[in-house]
Symmetry: C2
Subunit: 131 residues, 2 copies
DNA sequence: CAGCATCCGCCCGGATACTG
DNA sequence: CAGTATCCGGGCGGATGCTG
């Protein structure tokens, strides 16, 4: 376990890890991946995604989708129709990524009460004059 | 597994999950936690952390530490000495959190080649005139 | 030494308008 | 329908200067 924690920030790929961690932490990426994962076919078209993610703007949906596609988590299929139709699908890599992420989310859910309590205590101290 | 992915964004605590995921994804938080985890005592003083995290500014180190303390991941101990000494320590909660995070990091390490390859392909296509 | 206060550039995410 | 093109405000992270 000490070895694992050492592994985590050992070597020069700290940048790589942070690059990916940043995506995990950004506003829409994971929500989008999960939204796709929830659909039985793991597939949806642009407008469907926009509706499902409710207040997301097209611009942000587009860029998020592009980044996901670039990383190989999502594939994009254009149908030569009119009106145009574009479908996005979770790749095996994208599906695979969900597993470790789920664990983190589960941990957060399980420990949220502790965190919330800690925040309440911290904030209570801060509001009072020192000691 | 379908149930898990459903769980991930079910219910109203999507906000909670994103709140925490954002911290995971920010520039210094995880690096700071891991840095503390790497020290045998899981303890270090402010100046030590600043050196270990190299180009971090005091301001950012301070705020990151405060957030971590507020959430209960790190504890802060002030010694009534002169010159002042303050030590930060990973709490059991903070140590516990590392496990699921490690899995994500391991996944990223293992799959980084695939991702990088995908990016290369994507960028190559983009550089060329369409088809 | 360990910080708080202040200032600031940059980029993320959103709003709006237009097009193939 | 599925984008692209612009514009823009807010917040994050960094630099600097000052204290207990």
């Amino acid at each position: 376990m000490a070895r694992e924690t050492t592994e985590m920030c050992r070597s020069d790929d700290v940048g790589v890890v942070r690059d990916l961690l940043t995506k995990v932490g950004d506003k829409w990426t994971m929500l989008l991946v999960v939204t796709l994962a929830r659909t039985p076919s793991k597939r949806a078209r642009f407008s469907e995604l926009q509706r499902m993610l409710e207040p997301i703007s097209q611009r942000v949906l587009t860029t998020t989708l592009r980044d996901l596609e670039r990383d190989g988590f999502v594939s994009r299929e254009v149908f030569a129709e009119v009106p145009p139709r574009v479908e996005y699908e979770l790749t095996p890599l994208g599906i695979d990524m969900l597993e470790p992420i789920e664990r983190v989310v589960e941990w957060m859910r399980a420990n949220w009460p502790s965190i919330e309590a800690s925040r309440a205590r911290f904030d209570a101290r801060g509001a009072m004059p020192p000691r």
